[in-house]
Symmetry: C2
Subunit: 367 residues, 2 copies
């Protein structure tokens, strides 16, 4: 087991990473203040792990809350099911909410914990690679609104994060790849040597090699923990974590939530950010192609949806949270392993990036 | 004008109190970061003050958001109207939300500000006495749930509070009295000399004497600011501010939100807390009666609803946020001017308090 600490003053918390941690309740118990525990999961994950986690918490008054599965349910109506269950079971303000599932469950259970009686204790037990390396770290919680993704939410830190790498054994291959998109992202934005490691290990990761997975998760969480510790509320450097997300959110919004997985949209979106960085002359075309190839080897889409026009992108990006007083700030690569957040670019370069022929770009890679 | 400061480290903020402050935008402008401002008000207050505040903010991009009036609308559906308006107008994360109205508007606009894009700037412009002396100070925001009052919300501090005492000139008499319930509360829990001042000035307050109002508001806010500054998240002393609220919430829940005004329920609830404190021998019956008389002179109910049984009270109090692991903690008076939060009392005394004949108690005061 490896343990990282996210440094946030009095709200610092540990991330435990290792195989079989679901069966080690002594890692959770120091973070549960009362007798009441609510485990929030979904209809896919609950049959796999709910009983095991409930048994590990013998002696507590455990309330299982099972939500429908999918990004399409990341909305107020589903969140309300959590409040309904907590209130019906008379959970008081000393209850502890545990998120058992992927990013959607973590975001919703975290937001519910942030709001229930104005805030109760919260623990993350992420079971997907994406949530293990991304959404479980850093305290972003929330739900979608019909007019935009993650538009309603809170910054709310968990008391602890428990990552059982063995839970990836039941994860669909497509979701494993989606998680790798964020792993690759850390290499691109702040850790160039990690890119090289990934190029050497991507097949092992896809083959569920537990040692490689532990390393990748630990290194990803450490990168994110460092960035979040330096800038909890995303006034500066934290925004670099959104590499590919502005383009990616536009893709998700255009396609309808849940049609593309978040990591898939981030991969295609990051390819667009690489293309724009290359057009600005900040990285070379070879470096851009290096990124594209790694995403491809991870089993990810590298081309935006065929029917998306530049107008579609601009329309959806204009309500992105990174818009400051009408200027569109983007995360781009100053060089491989170093991201910047900037609105200082010629508008024509953004336009050229939106109309670029990504299919041709990818075809040429095969040659 | 008087200015208080609520001390909360980097989240400290000023409270400006005085006549005609709505026409002094220079007090607001230092707290507005971007160009976008959303003023959240209701159908009663907006016709009175929305245009004036909008004119004071000439030069900003002002979005008026007018909600239906009343505690019955303090729910998710109404909150959603704020998010809808902000997103439709493409307000970004640098927008500033201003609450213009009473406690319901402050709670909802504050919760919307806490959640919109995970938190935007927030200013309170309370226009009722209740919100001026209570809900605008301290950062409690939220909405009601069908199963309980204020069950969903956030601790979220405003950047500034602007209290124009002249706005009380348009306040219905019944609501002025409801506000006085919280004013009297401060005397009871932490400022015995203020009780004496109130006994001498309650008629002037009800007559809208601006000098007396300014003093009462300033002293109330100072009391609350001191308590909140010492205990922002209500782990200890802050809970004393809830004197009368546990009984009062039960009354509000039983009657249906909005039938009794919050301050009215608090007045009757506080009489019950006085009665229980007297039964415990902590205050004398004369002191209890002193409190009852002051509430009566302020135009407030001092007897719970006739049809409420002890069972009704216990049922509604069991989901109160002050329940810790099944023990019912109550705010009681150790002596006049000193409240305590405690679950150490014989259950029989609570039972006797619930069955006490308050009507007879009040009748005897007339004799």
């Amino acid at each position: 087991m490896q343990t990282l600490k996210v440094e946030l003053g009095e709200r610092s918390y540990p991330i435990h990473i290792g195989e079989g941690l679901l069966d080690r309740p002594e890692l959770l118990k120091p973070y549960i203040a009362g007798k009441q525990v609510a485990i929030v999961s979904n209809a896919t994950v609950a049959p796999l792990y709910m009983e095991r986690l409930t048994q590990a918490l013998a002696g507590y008054n455990v309330l299982p809350i099972v939500l429908p599965d999918g990004e399409a349910f990341k909305n107020w109506e589903t969140l309300q099911l959590i409040f309904d269950a907590l209130l019906t079971a008379r959970h008081d303000r000393r209850t502890t909410v545990i998120a058992l599932g992927g990013g959607v469950i973590g975001d919703m259970a975290g937001f519910a914990a942030a709001c229930y009686q104005r805030g109760v204790d919260f623990i993350q037990v992420p079971t997907t690679l994406l949530s293990q390396v991304d959404s479980s770290v850093g305290g972003k919680t929330g739900i979608n609104h019909p007019l935009g993704k993650n538009m309603v939410g809170a910054f709310y830190q968990p008391n602890a994060v428990l990552i059982d790498t063995a839970s990836l054994n039941t994860l669909p291959e497509r979701e494993l790849s989606a998680g790798l998109a964020e792993v690759i992202k850390y290499g691109l934005i702040c850790d160039e040597p990690f890119l090289t490691w990934l190029e050497e290990n991507v097949d092992r990761l896809r083959g569920l090699d537990q040692v490689a997975l532990t390393t990748a998760i630990e290194r990803s969480c450490a990168a994110k923990a460092a960035v979040v510790g330096a800038d909890e509320r995303e006034s500066g450097v934290r925004a670099t974590l959104n590499l590919g997300h502005t383009f990616g959110h536009a893709i998700e919004t255009h396609m309808g939530y849940g049609v593309w997985l978040h990591g898939e949209a981030v991969a295609a979106g990051t390819v667009m950010a690489l293309e724009m960085s290359a057009r600005l002359g900040w990285i070379s075309e070879q470096e851009r192609d290096r990124g594209i190839r790694l995403f491809q080897r991870a089993g990810l889409p590298v081309v935006p949806p065929e029917d998306m026009t530049p107008e579609h992108f601009l329309e959806h990006m204009a309500v992105d949270k990174k818009v400051i007083d009408g200027r569109l700030r983007l995360v781009l690569l100053r060089r491989m392993g170093e991201a910047v957040v900037t609105d200082e670019y010629p508008k024509e370069v953004l336009q050229a990036t939106l109309v670029a022929d990504y299919r041709a770009l990818v075809d040429q890679l095969r040659g």
